[in-house]
């Protein structure tokens, strides 16, 4: 037993790959068999990650979730700033500028609103819950944009781990509501044509939320929604730790 834990600890990054892989596999199975594909496997995996971090934190009394367990220190490297930025930048490679033009002006308007409006709402909610410093308010606001923009912003401007965890949880919760709620409101918000799907993708942002929600509504709409949604994370990562942070800081004064 000690030998196994020694091997796991000595190859910590490989252990992390294996652990996250198993977690994603389990989440995929939960998504398929328990929610019938309604909730995306990736959203379940992130929720499970947060749940494990909760129990890891209770078990070790530390601040770094499961990464405080000796065998799982590799999770800290895998989910650390370096690899996270690296992987997120890589997703931009799939952005096709020709397709981006197709989304056109209305997609751009939706993207802009989809970033700023949830952000403002998140900032106000944070303020209502007693967060008065610009860094925490910005991070929670960014979490209301997507679960990627939140932690990227928080790490860039130096937010504390509990605040980053809150912003991830907010973003994941948002993605899950989008996935579950979209089919129910689709008729009401006129979600039956490619253009409204593009507006929807730009406004909602979370790719997993949008693709999951649209797939449950009308499979043919998925590519249109995903097209604008893919720009959302990049835009959020660009403006949240910069323009939006400065705006919040200017208003709160610190």
């Amino acid at each position: 037993m000690t030998m196994i834990s020694h091997i796991l600890a000595a190859n910590s990054l490989l252990t992390a790959f294996a652990a996250v892989g198993i977690l994603m596999w389990v989440s995929g199975a939960i998504s398929k068999y328990l929610t019938f594909g309604r909730i995306h496997g990736s959203a379940i995996a992130i929720m499970l990650g947060l749940v494990l971090a909760f129990f890891g934190g209770i078990a070790t009394g530390g601040e770094k979730g499961v990464a405080d367990l000796p065998a799982l220190t590799g999770i800290g490297l895998m989910g650390g700033a370096m690899l996270r930025d690296f992987a997120i930048v890589a997703t931009a490679f799939e952005v096709d500028v020709v397709h981006a033009r197709k989304a056109g002006a209305i997609g751009a308007v939706a993207l802009g609103l989809g970033t700023v409006v949830p952000f403002i709402l998140g900032v106000f909610v944070a303020a209502a819950f007693g967060y008065t410093d610009a860094i925490s308010m910005t991070t929670i606001g960014a979490g209301a944009v997507t679960y990627i923009v939140g932690p990227v912003t928080g790490a860039a401007i130096g937010a504390s781990s509990p605040v980053i965890a809150l912003s991830i949880a907010t973003g994941v919760f948002k993605a899950v509501i989008v996935m579950i709620g979209t089919p129910f409101v689709a008729k009401m918000i006129g979600l039956n044509n490619p253009r409204s799907a593009m507006v929807f993708g730009g406004l909602m942002g979370t790719v997993s939320g949008v693709s999951g929600g649209l797939a449950a509504t009308d499979r043919r709409l998925v590519p249109y929604g995903a097209l604008t949604a893919t720009f959302h994370t990049g835009l959020g990562c660009l403006v949240a730790p910069s323009i939006l942070y400065f705006a919040v800081r200017a208003i709160t004064g610190g």
Partner: protein, 144 residues
């Protein structure tokens, strides 16, 4: 070569983070300002340039796309190492901010849809395309 893709991605990321730090210093904040976003723009520009020159090899694409496909697992790992115990004390904030953001965005989808006028629905497009597909069939005799 696969490593050229990984190297390209690394260079773009490093440049972006560097410029983000510089921007932070220039603006007088101890933060990386938009580094990831800047790096993404470098990568998009690099891709355009490579495609135009015909230099976008399969290996290069593999090197970048592998890491792109890795971002959800990395986000899972990131979630697993947060201080959730401390965050759980702030519980309701997650629910309120999440529901609020979705509700407002749903409303705006409806609003933009109404303001921009009526467009063909997916069903109508498919009906029209099906009709168009059958028309040339009647006109042109099959050759060969």
């Amino acid at each position: 070569m696969t490593v050229s893709g990984v190297a390209l991605l690394s260079i773009c990321t490093l440049l972006g983070v560097f410029l983000g730090d510089l921007l932070g210093i220039a603006l007088g904040v101890k933060a990386n300002v938009g580094g990831v976003g800047i790096a993404m723009m470098f990568l998009i520009a690099a891709r355009l340039w490579l495609v135009r020159r015909g230099l976008l090899s399969h290996g290069l694409k593999t090197g970048v796309e592998f890491w792109g496909s890795f971002y959800i697992p990395i986000v899972v790992a990131m979630a697993a190492q947060q201080n959730v115990v401390a965050a759980a004390k702030g519980g309701p904030i997650v629910v309120i901010a999440g529901i609020g953001a979705v509700a407002v965005c749903f409303a705006m989808v409806a609003l933009i849809g109404r303001l921009s006028g009526r467009v063909e629905t997916m069903d109508e497009i498919e009906a029209r395309e099906a009709l168009e597909a059958t028309v040339p069939h009647f006109k042109s005799g099959r050759i060969g």
